[in-house]
């Protein structure tokens, strides 16, 4: 399952760098595309704005198949304060831009599964695929607006995984 999670993140990260190269943030001196998996980062009291934050939540495994099938729910949270140069009055537009970017990086809804535990990363035999994103309503917290989208990612568990 970790290979599926890693593949999903790296796929979306690569697509985001193409869709919007300007959506970046800085982590310990390194400029990265604006997407991160919360469970893979250092614990922080504050999450960055204008970044797609991936959080893995529910898990279902069907072991009756020849190869077990894992369905993992990924909650993608993002929020923005808008641009301070515009007094934050563009925060609604910025959030809509992030909605659109998320839709773009989630398409196509499949990727070849990779094993990033090896050096270099190796191609596995199966693919991961996911369904349409389910968008929650806009959450408003003072001047900050945000949203959570849910995506169910499906992966075959290969022997040895």
């Amino acid at each position: 399952m970790k290979n599926a999670k890693d593949t999903f993140y790296v796929t979306l990260r690569g697509r985001l760098a193409t869709v919007n190269p300007d959506r970046t943030f800085v982590v310990r001196g390194l400029v990265r595309p604006g997407i991160m998996v919360i469970e893979n980062e250092m614990v922080s009291a504050e999450l960055p704005a204008d970044v797609f934050l991936l959080r893995w939540t529910e898990l279902q495994i069907d072991t009756l198949q020849a190869m077990p099938v894992a369905v993992m729910r990924c909650e993608i949270q993002y929020f923005t304060d808008g641009d301070s140069d515009n007094a934050g009055m563009d925060r609604g537009r910025t959030l809509t831009e992030m909605d659109t970017e998320l839709l773009k990086i989630l398409t196509p809804q499949a990727a070849a599964k990779m094993n990033y535990g090896t050096m270099p990363a190796s191609l596995m035999q199966s693919s991961i695929f996911w369904g349409d994103a389910v968008f929650e309503g806009m959450a408003v917290n003072a001047e900050r607006v945000g949203r959570v989208a849910r995506v169910d990612v499906t992966s075959y568990e290969e022997p040895g995984e």
């Binding site: 890693d6 982590v27 310990r28 990265r32 998996v37 893979n40 614990v43 922080s44 990033y116």
Partner: protein
Amino acid sequence: MSQNLDGRAGAAARVADALLRSLGGSAVMLRVPGNAMAAADAEQLGLSEPQFEEIAIGPAVYRRVMAKVADGKGERAELLVSATTILRIVGSLGYASTSVLFAQAAGVVVNGTLLQIMGVSSSEIFGQPYLYRLQVRGALSEVV
């Protein structure tokens, strides 16, 4: 000693340092990660962790402000730290500001226990800080 603070602000910092020492001020360690590795997926995938550096900050006074009141919740404490030391670290290590330093820090080590920094505030005079107050919390993994 207060080489980063001038004039009246420097005097306030010296008074704060003396007060911290009189309260039993000791040195605690600020754990700071090294720079992220470029072109390496391992850190972003949780496969490896960054190198950490521990920097002594003091004089500092540690005090509990809230005992453990429920399972799964660590006790809360606060750490009063000399601004003199913090400003020196910010300058010598090239951080843009103290807020960047504390935001990037993995926590503070007090008596061998890593505490997470939950919030930072400062006491200032004439626009310059003379004391930092760190709200810290024990890691949940260490909650018995």
